[in-house]
Amino acid sequence: MAKIIGIDLGTTNSAMAVMEGGAPKVIHSREGRNVIPSVVDPVTHVVGDVAKRQLVLKPKNTIFSIKRLMGKKFKDESVQFDIKWLPYTIKAGRDGMADVEVDGKTLTPQEVSAMILQKIKADAEAYLGGKVTQAVITVPAYFDDSQRQATKQAGEIAGLEVLRIINEPTAAALAYGLDKKNAHTIAVYDLGGGTFDISILELGEGVYEVKSTNGDTHLGGDDFDQAIIDYLAEEFEKENQVDLRKDPQALQRLRESAEKAKIELSTSTEAQINQPFITQGSNGPLHLTMTLTRAKLEQIVDELVQKTLKPVEQALKDAKIKVGDINEIVMVGGMTRMPKIVEVVSKFFGKEPNKSVNPDEVVAVGAAVQAGVLGGEVKDVLLLDVTPLTLGIETLGGVSTPLISKNTTIPSSKSQVFSTAADNQTQVEINVLQGERAMAQDNKSLGRFILDGIPPAPRGVPQVEVAFDIDASGILNVKAQDKATGKEQSIKITGSTGLTDAEVEQMTKDAEAHAKEDEEARSAVEVKNQADSLIFTAEKSLKDAGDKVSAELKTEVEGKIKALKDVLPSGTKDEIETKTKELSDSLQKIGEQMSKQQQSDGEGSAASADSSGEPKEETKADESSSANASEDKPVEGEVVN
């Protein structure tokens, strides 16, 4: 099924996203970036980062900020203003519309925008592995009919059916799911690379209506960078009497440093600026080394930050809304990562803004959400639950063995084969557990049942398959089946997910708090199980070997078995491990002796020599087992899945 993509066609950068598995996903460009610079060379059809790199070389052929001309008349005040600073040629075209001229060819802004959209389409197709023919494109809330129409045409030229044009602030609100939260009145604060927009939205009949919009079309991240550059250059000049801004190469490096410092200061309070050999002074090379603190940066850009508040006030006034009536604030644009901006906005509105979604991607994400609604995908999104806690069964030694781990998306099923712990054990008890703790006794028992009628056999031989199946509504079915007889028992547990959040949190916290001791307890049981298993193997080997081993060795092994048996019930972990190792070493001698004799029936000893090779699973021996051994006898089993 063809996907509908959501596109944020921006002034400085563009971005795209798509609904996948019910959640919006930002598509990266082929260059591996989450945004594509809205820069085009219409002659060579180069778009994005590559086009941006030739901006200096071909200022007349490289078009940027084309969005500023979309659907505008040449005579428009804003166009007349932009002509002064945009390096490419702008002229009056058909019906007096603003067009651009490149290499003697006249192009409409729609055609130029279409090239950006073509690149977006191609990159999205590469990512999705299929054709993309439909899209939702966003525009600023203040775009008039002609500008919206032009945007739609751009889409069509690019081979995209534009299913809907939506407002950027609305998209941002959708990205946060504010419509579902029933947030009635929203302010969207959008400070991008070159423009600032503030929009006041009101939710009515499930649709956001733009109550007012304001802003500054020539205020953005670039101005902040320039302020930092000026500060750094002036400081440098004070010390070295050289204006770095007059040396193009130094300026280039200064610009990079300024941008890097600005970004760094969003997360740390100090940034080091270190550009050795930045320029040549009268007495040799000069280095730019400076420390910029966040406090200083905030002082440098304070004027710019304050400049955004006036339009905000005006927008509220136009919407006839008081600051206190705003339910939610949404932050858009890379500049809103600056802590100072968040602080000023929070202070103005008296509440924390929404800023968890990447501010460079939030509009594209919202467009994708809208695309998902139009494609029928969002309406039908299956909200799949996850298991809040791990589900498992109790195995040998009171260990909790997980079958379905925490946070698994349900429905899900898992099965594993276990075996008996004692010779001639005819029944096993399945104790279904829930929780993160290592030992069964610390977890919650959801239910237990007994599978009986297992034909008598040596321990480890019977295969009991335990299957967990949890359906979409959280109902857990546990089934145990003896593979030899096909006999089965099962239990249905309905309360497996019905825990309150507080309970889940408590259980998770407990598990974290006890992680270390639980691990120790588990490993202690494992050591015991291993020792027990080795005793069993050793006794079997001695019996199988009969008189093929020397009497001394037999006595030695028997002695080691007894020593291990003695420490097993109450010995420390280390004691048991040492004795296990000793027995294991002696056991290997049996193998050696037997192979020296070149007896053909040496399998028993060979197996015993390798007592810790295969992965093992053990079940808890049933208490009613007829075997004489203690209930904690280890056995081998095999993992099926």
Partner: protein, 144 residues
Amino acid sequence: MKKHDKQIENQEIEELTNQLKRAVADYQNLEKRTTEQKREWILAANQGLIAKLLTVLDSLFLAQKHIQDDGLNLSIQKFLDILKEESVERIEVEDKEFDPNSMECVSVQAGEENKVLEEVRPGFIMNNRVLRPSQVIVGGKLTN
């Protein structure tokens, strides 16, 4: 009435089938992409670190320009050798035509049109991907 119910039922089946197909398709695509991404990650694992280290190399190059020292030259050579071992190669720009795919023009000076006149900062390619474009000065006709 019955017929109507049947119709609704069919519609529902169709909707659910579509939904299932979509979910399975999403899953399969995700799997394919995860495999692809894993391959890419392995290739790109060092990319971020190397890109950062390149700024140190930049300083060394600049220092060399000013102080011309044999020891420094050797150090730079060592740096470049290690980069080569990690399949990071310097982008050749000398006497080349300007190519925005691997170069960034930082300034234009009078000279042969579209030809690279000077490398300001070297660029590097890693596993056929531009790690960082070369910053170059390009020749052109100077207006005003």
